[in-house]
C-alpha cells in the first residue's frame, strides 16, 4: 500500500460553491479522507456537464467526475433538524470542515464558528464565500463572472473597446479552492503546537484581489497607470508580447526582454523593420504601432507550423509557445512521458482519461485511487459503519428523506 501525504486526515466538504470541491480534490488526491456531504438532490455540479453524448445524467457530469474522484459521498439533508444533528456528529470526529457557501447558507445549515468550536475545538473550519463573512458586501450573491469582476481580473482581458472577459470556465473555483487548501493545511500543521483549530474565512473576490491583482494597486499608486486590456497583446511592456496566427494555429511570443528581442531579430533574419527608429522604444511602439509590428512578423509565422516555430524559439532561447488544444494535449509526448494523463473506471461513465498530477511527491505520490462517488454511495458505510448509527435509525432517516443511498 502506497503511503499518502495526508493519510488519516478526515475532511468534511460541504456546500455548493465549486471552490470547496477543488479544495477537497487537492486534499483527497494526496490521501485525505474527504467526505462530500450532498443534499438529497445531489451537488449542483452533477447537473453541470459536460455529459457523454450530451445526455444529462447526474452520475456522468464531467465536471463532477473530475472534481470529486478520490472522495466519498454521503447524502444528509441539512434543512432538517435530524440532518443537522448528523452533520454535527460527523464534524465532531473530523479534522477539517470546508464549507463553500454564502453566509446565509451557512446560517441555515447551522454552521457557525462559535458553535462548531464548542463541538470540536480542534476543528479547522474553512469557509469559501463570494466576499467573505464580514464587510458590506458579505450578503451579495455572486458567480465566477462577478467575483472575477470585483477582484479586478476582468478589466484586463479582452479587446480595448469591447466587453471585458473573465478567464474561461470557473477559475474562481480553482483559485479560491487553492487558497482554502493552503488555509486548511497550514492550520492542521499549526494545530500540533497550539492544540486548537481555527476559522479561516476565504473570500473569492479577495483571492483575485490579493494574489492575482494585488500588486497592481501599489503600481497604480506610484505610476497613476491603470492596466488596459488590449486584446491579443499585453501593453506596458516592450513589444512583442502577443498571440498571432501561424500556418496551423496560433502562437504566443513573449520577447519583451532585450536578450529575447535580440534573439528574435536574429531568428527572423534581422530584417530592416527591426532597425527602424520608430520601433526603438518598444514599449511606446507596442501601444501605438502594435498592429504594424504584428504585421511585420506575420508572414514569417504564416510560413511555419506551431511545432516548427516552437522548436526554433527553444533553440534561440526565446519565450514562445503554441496555443495547444485539448486533442493535442492528450497526444503530447512530454505530458505522456511524465504520466500526466490518468485513467480510471467509473461504474456509469466507464473508463476515461482524466488530467492527473500537478506535482510528483517522491515518497507519497499523488494518485487517482477511486472514481467520483455515486450520489450517497457512502452514506450507509459512513453513518452506520463509522458514526455508529443503528441500522434501524438509518432506515428511519432514509424514509424521512434525511439520508439517502
Amino acid at each position: 500500500m502506497t503511503k499518502k501525504a495526508l493519510a488519516g486526515l478526515r475532511v468534511i466538504e460541504f456546500g455548493d460553491r465549486l471552490g470547496a470541491a477543488y479544495a477537497g480534490k487537492l486534499l483527497a488526491d494526496l490521501g485525505a479522507d474527504v467526505i462530500k456531504v450532498e443534499p438529497p438532490t445531489g451537488d449542483p455540479s452533477r447537473l453541470h456537464g459536460p455529459f457523454p453524448g450530451d445526455r444529462v445524467d447526474p452520475e456522468q457530469s464531467g465536471l463532477f467526475l473530475y472534481m470529486n474522484a478520490n472522495k466519498r459521498s454521503i447524502v444528509v439533508d441539512e434543512r432538517s433538524a435530524s440532518g443537522r444533528s448528523l452533520l454535527g456528529d460527523l464534524i465532531k470526529g473530523s479534522d477539517a470542515l470546508i464549507a463553500g457557501a454564502t453566509p446565509g447558507q451557512l446560517k441555515e445549515a447551522g454552521l457557525q464558528w462559535p458553535d462548531l468550536k464548542q463541538l470540536n475545538p480542534r476543528l479547522v473550519f474553512t469557509t469559501i464565500s463570494p466576499y467573505g463573512l464580514t464587510g458590506p458586501y458579505k450578503d451579495r450573491n455572486a458567480y465566477d463572472i462577478n467575483t472575477s469582476a470585483a477582484g479586478g481580473v476582468s478589466l484586463g482581458i479582452g479587446s480595448s473597446n469591447r466587453e471585458p472577459l473573465k478567464f474561461p470556465l470557473d477559475q474562481t473555483a480553482n483559485q479560491s479552492g487553492l487558497i482554502a487548501a493552503c488555509a486548511v493545511l497550514s492550520s492542521v500543521y499549526g494545530r500540533k503546537a497550539s492544540g486548537f483549530g481555527r476559522h479561516n474565512d476565504v473570500a473569492e473576490a479577495e483571492v483575485w484581489a490579493t494574489i492575482h491583482t494585488g500588486p497592481g494597486v501599489v503600481a497604480w499608486l506610484f505610476s497613476g497607470r491603470l492596466r488596459q486590456r488590449s486584446g491579443h497583446r499585453l501593453l506596458g511592456l516592450p513589444w512583442p508580447h502577443t498571440v498571432l496566427p501561424c500556418k496551423d494555429g496560433y502562437f504566443a511570443i513573449q520577447a519583451s526582454e532585450r536578450r529575447h528581442w535580440d534573439k528574435l531579430v536574429e531568428l527572423i533574419g534581422e530584417p530592416d523593420w527591426a532597425k527602424d527608429p520608430k520601433y526603438k522604444d518598444r514599449v511606446k511602439a507596442n501601444e501605438e504601432l502594435g498592429d504594424e509590428l504584428d504585421a511585420n512578423i506575420m508572414p514569417w509565422l504564416a510560413d511555419r507550423t506551431r511545432e516548427e516555430i516552437f522548436q526554433l524559439t527553444r533553440e534561440y532561447k526565446i519565450a514562445g509557445a503554441p496555443l495547444y488544444t485539448a486533442d493535442e494535449l492528450l497526444q503530447n509526448e512530454h505530458l505522456k512521458s511524465r504520466g500526466f494523463w490518468v485513467q480510471i473506471e467509473h461504474p456509469k461513465a466507464g473508463r476515461l482519461h482524466y488530467p492527473g498530477a500537478p506535482y510528483h511527491l517522491s515518497h507519497t505520490p499523488w494518485a487517482l485511487t477511486t472514481p467520483a462517488p455515486l450520489l450517497g454511495e457512502h452514506s450507509r458505510s459512513v453513518l452506520v459503519g463509522e458514526l455508529g448509527l443503528s441500522e434501524g435509525r438509518y432506515q428511519e432517516l432514509a424514509a424521512e428523506g434525511v439520508v439517502k443511498g
Binding site: Y66, N141, N174, V217, P358
Partner: protein, 403 residues
C-alpha cells in the same frame, strides 16, 4: 496569537513571481523564510525602472515588495564552494526548500535534492520548473503566458467564434505558486506526522492543465475541442459584463436559477421583451443569449456600475462592478476587510501591499515585516543561525562570497 507556521524555517531559492509567492505565503503564516539572493544575478523582480531618481536600484520594485514581504534576504555566491557549503549548513537547520531554477542548475552547483538530504535527511524540497524535471520539453521557459498557451487555457480566451487572444495576464504564475504551496504544506504535514521528508517535482505547465479540467473532460468524453468562450458558462444566461454610463465602466451580471431571472426582470421593471418565450426558461435564455445581452446592455447603459449592482443585489441577482486597481483600493468592502495594507519601506516610504489572502479568526491579518533589502539579513543569518564569527563573516564578505 502567532501564525500557524511559527518555528518553521524555509530556504527560499524561489524567484521572479511564481517562485517567490510560496515563500511569501509561508512567511505571512509565520515561517522564517530566508530568501537566497545574489548581488551578481539579481532577482528579475528587483530590476526595472526606478521610481525615485533615475538610477537602477534593486530596492524600488514594488512588485518585489509584494511577493517577498515577510522574508529575510541572504546574499551568497552559489558558484563558490564556500557559498554552497554555507547553504548546506543552513539547509541542515531548516525544514524545507523552494526553488524554481531551470532544471539542472542546482545539480551543477551541488545543491540538488540528492546533495541536500546528505545534510538534512528529512528535508522537504520543491522544484517548480516550467515543465518539470523530466521529459523532452524540460527546456521550456516558464513565463506565465507560455504556460497559459501550453496549458490549453489561452485558446479558450477570446470572443466566441473569433480568433483566440490569450489571457494576457499572469494567471499561470500565482496559480503555480498556490499549487506549490499546497504540495509543500502537504509534504510538511506528512513530515510532521512521520518524520519523513521528500522531494516534490512540480510542473507549472501541469498546474495550468488541472485548471481547465472541465474542458479536457469534454474532449475525453465527446471529442470536442472547443474554442474561445467569451464570458459564456454552461447553465448560465445572462452571464456577462454589461456597459454602464461613462467611459469603460461595466457591471457583471450572472443568472443561473429561475428565481434569479425573476429578480432580474423585476429589477428592470418587468420590460415587455423579458416576457417573450425566447427568455422563458434557462435553456431558452442560453440559446438566445446574444439577443438577451443586447436587451440587458440597453438597460444597464444609463446606470453606473454601482447603481446597477445595488439595484440587482436588492433583487437577489448576482452583480458586481468591474473594478480597476483604483476602485479596489477605495472600495468600502476591501477597506473594511483590510485587503490592502500600508507598509513602511525605507526607500519608497509608505507602500500599499496586498494583505494575507484570507482571514483567520485568531491571528491578526497583517504583514509580519516588509520585503528585505538586498542582503539585509546576511549577517544575521551567518551569525545567529550558522554561528559564524565576525572575522569569518568579514573574510567571506571581502571574498565576495557573501555579496
Amino acid at each position: 496569537m502567532n501564525g500557524p507556521l511559527q518555528g518553521v524555517r524555509i530556504v527560499d531559492f524561489g524567484w521572479v513571481w511564481a517562485g517567490a509567492v510560496p515563500g511569501q505565503i509561508l512567511a505571512d503564516l509565520g515561517a522564517e523564510v530566508i530568501k537566497i539572493e545574489s548581488g551578481k544575478r539579481l532577482d528579475f523582480m528587483r530590476r526595472g525602472r526606478p521610481i525615485i531618481g533615475n538610477k537602477l536600484d534593486p530596492e524600488q520594485n514594488h512588485m518585489f515588495h509584494n511577493v517577498n514581504r515577510g522574508k529575510l534576504s541572504l546574499t551568497i555566491d552559489l558558484n563558490d564552494p564556500r557559498g554552497t557549503s554555507l547553504i548546506k549548513q543552513l539547509v541542515a537547520k531548516s525544514d524545507a526548500a523552494i526553488e524554481n531554477f531551470a532544471p539542472g542548475y542546482l545539480n551543477r552547483v551541488g545543491l540538488d535534492y540528492a546533495s541536500l538530504i546528505q545534510v538534512n535527511p528529512s528535508l522537504v524540497m520543491i522544484s517548480m520548473a516550467a515543465a518539470g524535471q523530466s521529459g523532452p520539453l524540460q527546456d521550456v521557459r516558464g513565463y506565465a503566458t507560455i504556460m497559459a498557451a501550453l496549458g490549453g487555457m489561452d485558446y479558450l480566451v477570446g470572443y466566441p467564434g473569433e480568433a483566440p487572444m490569450g489571457s494576457q495576464q499572469a494567471y499561470a504564475d500565482p496559480n503555480a505558486s498556490l499549487h506549490a504551496t499546497v504540495a509543500l504544506l502537504s509534504a510538511m504535514y506528512h513530515r510532521q506526522q512521520t518524520g519523513e521528508g521528500q522531494y516534490i517535482d512540480l510542473s507549472q505547465w501541469d498546474t495550468t492543465l488541472v485548471t481547465v479540467g472541465e474542458m479536457l473532460m469534454d474532449y475525453t468524453m465527446n471529442g470536442r475541442v472547443g474554442g474561445p468562450k467569451g464570458n459564456q458558462y454552461p447553465g448560465m444566461a445572462p452571464c456577462g459584463n454589461y456597459p454602464c454610463r461613462g467611459e469603460d465602466t461595466w457591471v457583471s451580471i450572472g443568472v443561473k436559477t429561475d428565481a434569479e431571472w425573476q429578480g432580474l426582470v423585476q429589477a428592470m421593471g418587468s420590460p415587455v421583451w423579458a416576457a417573450e418565450p425566447d427568455f422563458a426558461t434557462s435553456q431558452a435564455r442560453e440559446s438566445n443569449q446574444f439577443a438577451l445581452d443586447r436587451h440587458l446592455a440597453a438597460w444597464t447603459r444609463p446606470l453606473t456600475p454601482d447603481e446597477a449592482t445595488e439595484l440587482l443585489s436588492k433583487h437577489g441577482v448576482a452583480a458586481a462592478p468591474l473594478m480597476d486597481h483604483q476602485a479596489r483600493f477605495f472600495d468600502p468592502h476591501f477597506r473594511e476587510r483590510e485587503t490592502y495594507v500600508e507598509v513602511e519601506h525605507p526607500i519608497l516610504g509608505r507602500e500599499i501591499l496586498y494583505n494575507v489572502p484570507w482571514t483567520m479568526d485568531d491571528v491578526p491579518r497583517k504583514i509580519t515585516r516588509r520585503a528585505p533589502l538586498l542582503g539585509e539579513h546576511t549577517e544575521y543569518v551567518c551569525r545567529e543561525i550558522l554561528g559564524l564569527g565576525a572575522d569569518e563573516i568579514a573574510t567571506l564578505t571581502e571574498a565576495e562570497v557573501l555579496r
